[in-house]
Symmetry: C2
Subunit: 331 residues, 2 copies
C-alpha cells in the first residue's frame, strides 16, 4: 500500500496542508519544515496521487491522441512521437487511441477520453465526422484537429500545405516534359484528398494540359492498392508517363507495378509520392516525394494544445505545416 499525504503528515508531525504545500512548492513555508517534510516523503517513498489531484483540480496532466491507425503507414508513428515527446517534456502522459476510420468508434473514444478527464485531445480525423464532433466539442475543450478544418470555437487546427505540395510535384513533372500524368488518389481523409485532387487538376489546367478523369483513381491509401491500381492503369493507358500518388505507400506500390511490367522508372514512367516516409529514400529507385516534417507536425500540434490549455480564452489561428519537394531517382 503506497503512502498517502496523511501518512507523511502524521510521520512528520505537521498538517496535511503543509505536506501539500511542499509537494506543490507553493506558499510560504519555513525552510526547516520543508526539509523535514521532504525527508519524510523520501523515507516513505510518497508520491502524490494524480487521481485524487485530478478530482479536485480538474487537471489530470494527461492528454488523448486519437489516430486512425498506427501500423499501416509509418507516417503516423512519427507524428505520434513528436506529440509524445512534447507531452513528456511537460510532465504529461498520453492516451493513444486508434479508430480505424470508424466515426462511430471515434466519437465513443472521444467520450471515453473525456470520462478520464484528459486535459485536451489531439484528433487526426479521417472520416466525415464533423457533425458528431461539433456536439462533442460543445462540452469539451480544448481540441486540436489535424489536417481538417472543423468549424468550432473550441477546436484549433493544424493544416498540412497539401495544395502547395501537390503543385510542387505536378509542376516538377510537367517541367520534366510529362503531359500524361495519372494520380493515385487515396480516400482516407476526404477533405484533404479533395484538396490534393483539386490541386492536381488545377495545376494541370494551369499548364494547359487536359485532365483525364479516368486517370484519377480513388482507393484506400495502402501499398497493395497502389500496386493494383498502377498496374491496371498502365496496362489500360500505356501513354501515361508519370504517376503522382496521394502518399508514399501508393507510390511504392506503383514502383512495384512498374518493376513487374518492365517499365523503367523514371525513364518509362516517373513516380512522385507524398510524405517522405523512411522507405521512400530506401526504395530502388529511391522515391521523389513531397516531404512533410512528421515529427515537427506532431510537436507543433501538441505545443498548440498546451498553448490552449494555458490561455483558455484565446482563439488561436491555424498552424500551417510546410511541404517541400524532395527530388530523388524516381522522377
Amino acid at each position: 500500500v503506497p503512502a498517502t499525504m496523511r501518512d507523511v503528515a502524521r510521520q512528520a508531525g505537521v498538517s496535511i496542508k503543509t505536506v501539500s504545500r511542499v509537494v506543490n512548492n507553493q506558499g510560504e513555508i519555513s525552510e526547516a519544515t520543508r526539509q523535514h517534510v521532504l525527508a519524510v516523503i523520501e523515507e516513505l517513498g510518497f508520491r502524490p496521487s494524480q487521481v485524487a489531484r485530478a478530482l479536485v483540480t480538474r487537471r489530470s496532466h494527461t492528454i488523448g491522441l486519437v489516430m486512425s491507425d498506427i501500423t499501416n503507414n509509418p507516417f503516423f508513428p512519427e507524428v505520434a512521437r513528436g506529440m509524445l515527446d512534447v507531452a513528456r517534456g511537460k510532465g504529461f502522459n498520453v492516451f493513444l487511441c486508434e479508430v480505424f476510420g470508424n466515426p462511430q468508434r471515434e466519437l465513443e473514444i472521444l467520450h471515453s477520453l473525456a470520462d478520464h478527464a484528459v486535459d485536451g485531445i489531439i484528433l487526426y480525423p479521417t472520416y466525415h465526422s464533423q457533425d458528431n464532433l461539433s456536439t462533442f466539442a460543445d462540452h469539451y475543450r480544448p481540441l486540436i484537429s489535424i489536417n481538417r478544418f472543423i468549424d468550432h470555437p473550441s477546436i484549433s487546427t493544424v493544416m498540412l500545405e497539401t495544395t502547395k505540395g501537390t503543385k510542387l510535384a505536378v509542376d516538377y513533372l510537367v517541367g520534366k516534359g510529362h503531359q500524361s500524368i495519372a494520380m493515385l488518389a487515396g480516400n482516407g481523409a476526404p477533405l484533404d484528398e479533395i484538396r490534393r485532387v483539386q490541386g492536381f487538376r488545377q495545376t494541370l489546367t494551369a499548364h494547359g494540359l487536359p485532365v483525364h478523369d479516368e486517370w484519377i483513381i480513388a482507393m484506400s491509401p495502402q501499398l497493395e492498392e497502389g500496386y493494383e491500381a498502377a498496374k491496371s492503369l498502365l496496362n489500360q493507358y500505356p501513354q501515361i508517363t508519370a504517376i503522382f500518388a496521394y502518399n508514399d505507400l501508393l507510390a511504392l506500390g506503383a514502383l512495384q507495378a512498374c518493376r513487374e511490367l518492365g517499365r523503367r522508372v523514371p525513364e518509362d514512367c516517373a513516380i512522385v509520392g507524398f510524405d517522405d516516409i523512411l522507405w521512400a529514400a530506401k526504395a530502388t529507385p529511391s522515391l521523389t516525394t513531397v516531404r512533410i516534417d512528421k515529427y515537427d507536425l506532431g510537436c507543433q500540434a501538441a505545443q498548440r494544445l498546451f498553448d490552449m490549455l494555458n490561455a483558455p480564452e484565446t482563439v488561436f489561428p491555424p498552424i500551417y505545416i510546410d511541404t517541400e519537394l524532395v527530388i530523388r531517382e524516381s522522377a
Copy 2:
C-alpha cells in the same frame, strides 16, 4: 459543466446511490426507477467520472504501455496495435510511453504511470534495468515484461522463441551449403541479443562449423548501421557467403550494402533477417526472415495482463511466442 451523479439524482428524485446502481447495473432495483433514471441520464448527457470512480475503487480502467521507440522499427507499432485492440475490447484506455532505451527515464515513466493509478503495465524492456525494476515491482502490480525474464513474483513474462528462430535460420543457411556466415548482432535488448548470438554460435558448432568472432558484429539495430557493418564486413572478409541479421532493419541494410558492392543476393551473399516486418516482403530481392506474429504478441501480452488483473493471486507461467522461417528470395 458536465452533469454529475447528484444532478441526475436530484432531477430524477432519487438518491445518488440509486443512480449509482443503475449506472453500474448492480443490485436489485425496480424496472420503473431504472428506466426513469436512465431517461434522466440520457437527458442530461450524464457520464460517470472515471477519475472519481478510480479514487474510490482503485481501478482506473487504464493500462500503461512502455516501449523503447515506436518510429525506428515498424515492429513496435504492430505489437502496440495488438495491445490497444485488446484493451479497447475491455473498455480500457492505454497510456503509451517511449523511453528510448534510457533506464533512468524508464523508471521515472513507470512511476508516473503508477501515479495515474494505471491498473497494470506492459513493459518492453531494452536495457539493463533489472535492479530498478525489482524495486518498482515491489510496490506495483501487475506487470508484464516482454522478451525478458525478470525474476519477480509480480512480473509475468512473454518470451519470443528467438533461440529457435535463430536455429531455423542458421540450419537453413547451412543446408544451402553456406559455411562462412556472419552475424549482424544488434545491441538493443542485451539478454535477448545474447540468446540470439549464443543460438548462432551453438548452431554453427552443431554443424561442425568454426565460429569467427570477428564476423559477429554488435551494433544499434538500425538500417544504416546494418548497411555500414555489412559493407565493411564484406570488404574485409570476401569469403563470407551469408549474413544472418538480428532484425530486418539490419538485414535490409545488408541488402543495400550488397547492392552497392555489386554482390548478387542470394547468389554471392545470402541474407536472412528477423521479425518479418512489412518491408521485408517488399524489398528487392524480398527478404528471407524469421517471422514473429507481432500483432499476436501484443494481444497475448495484453490478455495476460487482464488475466492477472482478474486473478491477482495466481502465478502465471511465461507465454512463448513462436517463430518460423519465411523463405523468400534473399536466401
